[in-house]
């Protein structure tokens, strides 16, 4: 199996799906001539031409809505936000149009659109550029929300997202674009809505997604050094949640720490905690812990930002708390 970066895996997914289906187009800021702000779309303009790979003006509401209209008319647009932090400018188009037109029309329209781009904090870009908005979009009933942590999932899930007949928010994390991993050759899809056990363990389950999965894995190493066996569960898809896999792990370990980069209030971890206490109350031996981004706007200074981000140390501390 080839070892490639997350950005190369995403690029392969886009290229293969555009090759396969002439209705798939890619639009966004700097996706064509510039080859992508994060190089995810590198080479696609040369391969598929300007009709299908379109540089947009800095106009998120306009081009996100344009993508929804094109999807209503049968195309399958992939709309890139340079970062998801900029998607708030397009929030109405994503929530009210992509999210509700099928329902409001009594099922007359399909909206096969993928919104994708980078997200996340930790690179000292301040409050406006550091959002992890998966919980915001998971609150939209029709929306599928995907947050890959590894290159093989990034490729397989993006291919599945493009083939879905429904709107998908595909939220990448900037910190992971250079992360390398094995990716199978060829047309391999990853099923949406299935979590992945990244590390087997028996005493505590660390539930995470995206970049937080790597924080959880680092914590599991620390815990192992202290003789504690932690299971790491990467949700991969935030909506729909893979409840059966979550419950199976909780039944096994009886202790849970949720690790999420987003802010705590109504973060996706709150929903996961609710599902666990509701469905597996008797399996729990300790209150569920959450390690989240702190409830402050993202600061610039490195020392401040690192204090705000979930860290392996905070996760380890929380895991030990569940073990008394």
């Amino acid at each position: 199996m080839a070892v490639i970066t997350m950005r190369e895996a995403l690029n392969q997914a886009l290229s293969e799906e555009m090759e396969r289906d002439g209705r798939v187009i890619l639009m966004g800021e700097e996706v064509a001539e510039y080859q992508g702000a994060y190089k995810v779309s590198s080479g696609l303009l040369q391969k598929f031409g300007a009709k299908r790979v379109l540089d947009t003006p800095i106009s998120e509401s306009g081009f996100a809505g344009l993508g929804v209209g094109a999807a209503m008319q049968g195309l399958r647009p992939v709309v890139e936000f340079m970062t998801w932090s900029f998607s708030m400018v397009a929030y109405d188009q994503i929530v009210n149009n992509a999210g509700a037109i099928r329902y409001m029309s009594g099922g007359q329209y399909s909206i096969p659109i993928v919104f994708r781009g980078s997200s996340g904090a930790g690179l000292q870009v301040g409050a406006t550029h550091s959002h992890t908005p998966e919980n915001w979009y998971a609150n939209v009933p029709a929306m599928t929300v995907i947050t890959p942590a590894f290159p093989d999932d990034a490729k397989g899930l993006l291919k599945s997202a493009i083939r879905s007949n429904n709107p998908v928010c595909f939220i990448e994390n900037e910190k992971l674009y250079g992360f390398k991993g094995e990716v199978p050759e060829g047309d391999v899809l990853t099923t949406i809505g299935q979590a992945r056990i990244c590390r087997d363990g028996s005493q505590v389950t660390l539930i995470a997604n995206s970049a937080s999965t790597h924080v959880a894995l680092a914590s599991a190493e620390q815990l192992a050094a202290d003789g504690i066996s932690a299971e790491v569960l990467d949700l991969r898809t935030i909506k729909p949640l893979d409840i059966p896999t979550i419950l199976a792990s909780v039944v096994k370990t009886s202790r849970v720490v949720i690790v999420e980069e987003n802010k705590p209030f109504a973060g996706w971890g709150a929903q996961v905690a609710y599902e666990i206490q509701h469905r597996a109350f008797d399996s729990l031996d300790a209150p569920i812990e959450r390690v989240t981004g702190l409830d402050v706007p993202q600061p610039y200074a490195r020392v401040l930002e690192q204090a705000v981000m979930p860290s392996a140390e905070r996760v380890t501390e929380a895991a030990k708390k569940t073990l008394g």
Binding site: F63, G69, D92, Q108, P112, R163
Partner: protein, 356 residues
Amino acid sequence: MASSGAKKVRSKEKPGNSPAMLPTLTPSERVDLLRKMVLIRRFEQKAAQAFMQAKIRGFCHLYIGQEAVAVGSISTLHPTDAVITAYRDHGHALARGMSSRECMAELFGKITGCSRGKGGSMHFFSKEKHFHGGHGIVGGQTPLAAGIAFAQKYNGTGEVTVCYLGDGAVNQGAFHEALNLAALWKLPVIYVIENNEYSMGTHQSRSSAGYPLVKRADGYDMAGITANGNDVDDVREKMWDAVQLARTESLPSLVEIKTYRYRGHSMSDPGNYRTKEEIAERKKESEPISMFKERLYKEKVLTEKEYEEIERQAVAEAEDAIAFAEASAEPEVATVFEDIHAPEDQIAEFRPPIGS
């Protein structure tokens, strides 16, 4: 034709191949325009009555006074061209050929409604008639229209998109972003500002800087056209130019159509921002149905007796729509979980059953 400051329509002239002219309508086609305008008027009056009886709930924005705009403009389109509008959408839906029954049933929240009772007054849809909504957020439909036109151009269908918006929408960012994209990418879309002078209760003089509003086309190097929305013939003539520009040259335009609504912004509007005298005066000088009716009398293509029959049929159709809506079933509560997601056909279904 073009207002001061706004770009004139460019028409491509080739030797021996003059641009398509606005087709002259037969007398019966002209009478049909009037018939549609009267139907919209009577439909809306019946809807207002039903709203007062609390049979229609929520928001209900009536089109009374603006009928010539939808009827005149849509009459210049092919049946497969796309139409999209804002929340004052009953008139456009009827002009597009949606049935009075499915429209009234939607207002009543019945399963037989055009959106199965899930959209309501502001969210009529008929994909079959290429009527793509019915959109509730001011200006929110304008990027969608650019996208529909983008797909028309991408697929090379030769179809065009007409997007209606109110004068209150011209100050939304989405509208400007859509105009820029439409002009930049040469999309076959016509944006029609239905200027009824009031954005809800705020007169345009208190909400918009820069008149006429069509001047906003200038900034995007788009054709700007104005029309008299009380005169269905003028609407047809001016819209025809914009539609040809889109169809033959794939160029967008902005059309400002001056109109006036006789009823409140919505049914819950007390109307204290304008006088009864103002409304009476506007009706007297330029009521669109009377104006067109008188013209048809003069042209000897319509008699008073025939007009009475048109009125009678319109009232009968509106009453039939009310009866149909009242007799229709409420949606089964279980349908609340339907129409959220399209079935998957390229990947396996991945969502757990709702409520599991």
